[in-house]
Amino acid sequence: MNTVIIDYGTGNLRSIGNALKRMGAEYLVSSDPSDILSADRVILPGVGEASSAMKRLLDTGLDRVIPSLKQPVLGICIGMQLMCRSSEEGKTECLGIFRTEVRRLSPAHPSMKLKIPEMGWNNIRMETDGQDGKQEPCPLFKGIPDGSYVYYVHSFAPDICQDTVAVTEYGHPFSAALDRDNFFGTQFHPEKSGKTGQRILENFLGL
C-alpha cells in the first residue's frame, strides 16, 4: 500500500503526514512524476495562495500528470481548489477536473458581517440525491453521520455543482467535498478534524 503526498512547495505537509502516521499508513512525500504515477493513491495537499500554487504545478509539469491519474486522488483545501476549473484567488485557471469555480466567501446579504477566513469547525450535509444519479453517500463519507463537524481554514470555496458530495454553509452554501470518478476533494482539513477526519482518511486509504 503506497500513498504519495505530492510535494509542490506549498508548505505544511507535516500535518497530513502525521495523520497518516497515526493511522499506521505508509506514505512517501514526492514531487517526482514517476513516484506519483506508480502510487496506489495520491494526496494533493495545499496551504497558501491558489495562483502561486497553480504556478508551481505548471512549472513542474504536475498540471499534466495529476489529471491523467487513474488511482484514487484526494485534494485537500487548496489542493482541492486547484482541481476545479478556476479560482478567484489570484484569478487563475486550474486543472478543470471538478466542474466548478472557486470563489471568495461572502455574507448571505451584503449588509451582514462575515468573518473571513472561516476558521473553525462547521458541519457537513451529504448530497446523496444530487445530479448524476447519486443515491449512495460518497465512499469517503462511509460511516460519517450527516451533520458531523469538520475543521475549516479558508477564504475561498468551490461553488456547488454536479460533483458536489457534501455541502457546508458559511455565508452561502459551498462544496465541502467533491467527487468525480477517481478524484476526491475536501475543502476542510480531514487531518485536523479529529475522529471524523480520521475516518474520512481511512475511507480514502481503503479505496
Partner: protein
C-alpha cells in the same frame, strides 16, 4: 453553522505544564503530551501551547515537545512564546504547528506580523494581545503583563489585522487566572470592530463566564487553562452546557 471554539491552553516551562494567577506564582500541573492528548480526545476544538521557559535548555525541550504533541493530536495546534522572526515561525511550522502566536516581539517590531503572514499566510498568525485597564484605557502590556507599553488595545488590534493577523487572542491581564469572568463589553467592541476572529482569554471561572463571552462578548472562541487543568469543568460538560444554552458548539465525542 460555524461552531464557537473551546481551546485549552498549556503554558509550558522547561517541559512541564504550569499555570499561575496573573502570570505569577506558577504551579506545575502535568505532562504536556498527556494533557494534549487528553484534551483532544475530550473534544477540545484546538490546542494552544505557550513556551514560557526562561532558559535555552527549556526552549530546546519545548521544540521537541511541539513535535511530539503535533504527532499525537488530530486537532489544530497553535504554538507561541518567544517567536521573534519569520524563521522562528518557520521552524515551528516544520515541527508541526498549524499556527503561531506572536506577542511581545510583534509589539516591539510590528513588521513581524507582515513577515510571517506573507511567507506562511494569515491563517498561520495569531496575534496575542495582553492588556490591562489603566484609567479608562486598555493599555497593551508585554512580558507576561510586567511591562506596560504606549499602545492601546483597539488600535493595536486593528493594526495587527491590517498587517495580516489571522486571529486576535486577547487576554485581560486584570482577569487572567482569577476566575472572575471576562470583560465582555470590551470583547464585544473588539469583535465588532475586527473582520477576523477574536479568541477570548483570561478569567474563565465557570461555564457561565464562557457562555457569556461567547454571546454577550461576541467572541468566536474561548481559551482557558485553570478551569480545565484543575478539573473544575471538563470539556464535555462545558460543551453540553453551552449547547443547552443555544450556543453552537461541536459536540464532544
Amino acid at each position: 453553522m460555524l461552531a464557537r471554539r473551546i481551546i485549552p491552553c498549556l503554558d509550558i516551562r522547561d517541559g512541564v505544564t504550569v499555570k499561575g494567577t496573573n502570570f505569577l506564582g506558577l504551579r506545575s500541573v502535568g505532562d504536556p503530551v498527556e494533557m494534549a492528548a487528553e484534551y483532544a480526545g475530550e473534544g477540545a476544538d484546538e490546542l494552544v501551547c505557550l513556551d514560557i521557559s526562561a532558559t535555552l535548555e527549556g526552549r530546546k525541550t519545548f521544540a521537541s515537545l511541539v513535535e511530539r504533541i503535533a504527532g499525537t493530536i488530530d486537532i489544530p495546534f497553535t504554538v507561541g512564546g518567544g517567536i521573534a522572526s519569520a524563521e522562528d515561525a518557520g521552524r515551528l511550522l516544520l515541527a508541526g504547528a498549524d499556527k503561531v502566536s506572536v506577542n511581545s516581539a510583534a509589539v516591539r517590531r510590528p513588521q513581524l506580523i507582515d513577515e510571517i503572514a506573507s511567507r506562511y499566510g494569515s491563517q498561520f498568525v495569531v496575534v496575542a494581545i495582553d492588556a490591562r485597564r489603566i484609567g479608562d484605557r486598555w493599555t497593551v502590556t508585554t512580558h507576561s503583563g510586567s511591562r506596560t507599553t504606549d499602545r492601546e488595545l483597539f488600535s493595536w488590534a486593528m493594526e495587527a489585522e491590517e498587517r495580516g493577523a489571522g486571529e486576535i487572542l486577547f487576554t485581560s491581564m486584570d482577569n487572567d487566572g482569577t476566575g472572575k469572568g471576562y470583560p465582555c463589553g470590551t470583547f464585544a467592541a473588539l469583535s465588532e470592530m475586527l473582520d477576523i476572529p477574536v479568541i477570548a482569554s483570561g478569567g474563565a471561572g465557570s461555564v457561565e463566564d464562557i457562555a457569556e463571552v461567547l454571546t454577550a462578548g461576541k467572541a468566536d472562541a474561548a481559551l482557558a487553562a485553570s478551569i480545565f487543568h484543575y478539573g473544575k469543568v471538563s470539556i464535555p460538560q462545558l460543551k453540553a452546557a453551552l449547547a443547552s444554552a443555544g450556543i453552537p458548539v461541536r459536540p464532544a465525542p
